[in-house]
Symmetry: C2
Amino acid sequence: MGVREDLLAAARAELEEHGHAGISLRAVARRAGVSHAAPKHHFDDRAALLTAIAADGFAELAAAMDRLPEPTLAALGRAYIDFGLTHPALFDLMFRPSELHADDPELLAASNNSISRLRAAADDQSLTLISWALVHGLVILARDGALGRIADIAEPAGVAELARGLADAYTERIQS
Amino acid sequence: MGVREDLLAAARAELEEHGHAGISLRAVARRAGVSHAAPKHHFDDRAALLTAIAADGFAELAAAMDRLPEPTLAALGRAYIDFGLTHPALFDLMFRPSELHADDPELLAASNNSISRLRAAADDQSLTLISWALVHGLVILARDGALGRIADIAEPAGVAELARGLADAYTERIQS
DNA sequence: CCCATCGGCTTGACACTGTCAAGCGGACGG
DNA sequence: CCGTCCGCTTGACAGTGTCAAGCCGATGGG
């Protein structure tokens, strides 16, 4: 309804289509049907717009985790991987502090809120961090095609399946 | 000596100072003391320049791994983490296919050559991939400050130490 | 020895970007 | 009914990547 929402929606669309680097404020404004300087009225600068989108992304990730019937570490890890591979551009943006206002309180709150779910599922912190790093790395390597190249898989669906399988293998191999 | 080498060196310097997004072909040309369009003569476009730098990065990573006395999975993982945290901007660029010519044969060769060292150290492929994803995720989370935020560590050296410790904890916990 | 050719580099231009300053216009309160 | 905001537009600026044309010196042939 409001111009701000239109701009956010347009930016989300541009993000899906062109990736975070392909987002131009002017293209977003054009898509939202406003003048090229309208975004300045709602977001201090480009980074502020991206930060708002990233914060939304963390909220969606948290919501996806909350939808789980049993929030075990294994289930959370699968949800994390699914989220990352379903919204690759959004996930990319969320973990790109150099392009965001990384100290924005709303962004930090949304991010910490998401990660707290991982923490709640493991009894010790080092297990939390190791598991987080594992699923995070899997998402990135799968998204960038590195996993598929090593394992000789072409279709994205196959790579996603491989990533999920590796996460399962990890939970089986890890001790206590 | 040659203009091409000067451009690559200037780009490396710009990369360290401003990150991959802050690299401007014109600034690189200025730094190398040539005209703003000189890069076009040696690199088809901006992505081609970045691709050449990324390929160099993979060669350096491979060299660091070859310097290891005993190329065990644990030692390779530490070397991977050290490389990523010592050259954060370079590492960032290397795994950013959207900004590179991802199908460039030289880049692919250099990349595969690096990763083959990980593969040689594990007896089964899924262990290779899991370990790779783990150290890769650790580098990214540590570099972006996410690890430090969770563990309440401010200094980069402390975060690097934490990442190394987590990698060690992983190798201890993982089964065969 | 001179001249022609050719490749590496420069110069100039274009469309596009993010950002800023000024100004318009309609809604809202006195 | 009038004045004052506030949201948005218009216009400008410096900076970007890329392309086209032209210069200029080294290289090779006559």
